[in-house]
Subunit: 191 residues, 2 copies
Amino acid sequence: MLELIERIRRDGKNLGNGILKVDGFINHQVDPILMDACGRELAKRFANIGATKVLTAEISGIAPALTTAYHLGLPVVYARKSKPVTMPDEVFLTMAPSHTKGRMVDLIVSPEYLAGGEKILIIDDFLASGATIWGLVRLAQAAGATIVGIGTLIEKVFEGGREKLKPLGVPVEALAIIRSMDEDHIIFEDE
Amino acid sequence: MLELIERIRRDGKNLGNGILKVDGFINHQVDPILMDACGRELAKRFANIGATKVLTAEISGIAPALTTAYHLGLPVVYARKSKPVTMPDEVFLTMAPSHTKGRMVDLIVSPEYLAGGEKILIIDDFLASGATIWGLVRLAQAAGATIVGIGTLIEKVFEGGREKLKPLGVPVEALAIIRSMDEDHIIFEDE
């Protein structure tokens, strides 16, 4: 998606060690017009997979998942990283490594909002190693739901997440695909 | 705003001790169509205050702040509760009590995205005691920015937050105003 790729070229920063700083428009300051356009594009790509719910992980997945869900007319659930007092005692819980925090975090979903038979579209900001997305897959499967698609804003091909998701046999879409981040460069697919 | 009030009447739960469970449509599972309507309404109420940026706190402020910012055509910044590796070492940081977590949490904003001279509209899901919103006020003031308005989806009048915000002298808007939550009831203003 050209609009997102151009924004990453302009405002994204390669901080080294594969870390891409996009906190000026995606995950601290957010450009809602861009986020709406990304949600519209992801909704278009997943229009025909029969999803009944969008699932994401707090925090930075919320914006793209919300706009995608809006354009699909579906509810969105974000997995919590800590259990609020409003959640029942029995929950679905898994752990996933956090790339930006450098430690394991919980991913928690209330069984009230993730049920057997649901067809789940997973949306997140990044597809990197795929670890967070696999956490969401485990939560959905624990609930007896089926994964029908996975979409992200940005994919870092060199972290191998897409390969790991292949056994699921579902469409995996990313709006900006980064092949490598050597030195100061950010090289996109097809360049 | 009738649409939100009716949804709280239908799906909200009074858990006692002033805790309102709205995690089926606001802060765990989110109804993006409702959230867009709320953002549109808040944007209308704050159309003429000259805001240059929307500020909220992760996590549950993100959805209403994003849709409000979208309809105002403004960027939105969400204060982080932990500092990701993509953030510079020098940040604006304050602490605020978390109602649902029962402990103090950090609120952190990068100086890259909160600058002197900005006119800040604060948006959050709840106005209760006002503690989180005061945390956001302190962050904005530390940056030399000016608060020009405060908007929330739900106000719990009996927690007194609005009174505490009065010295700021800015418009405070809430889309669903709850006067009391005795026993099993949820009593809205003007009932």
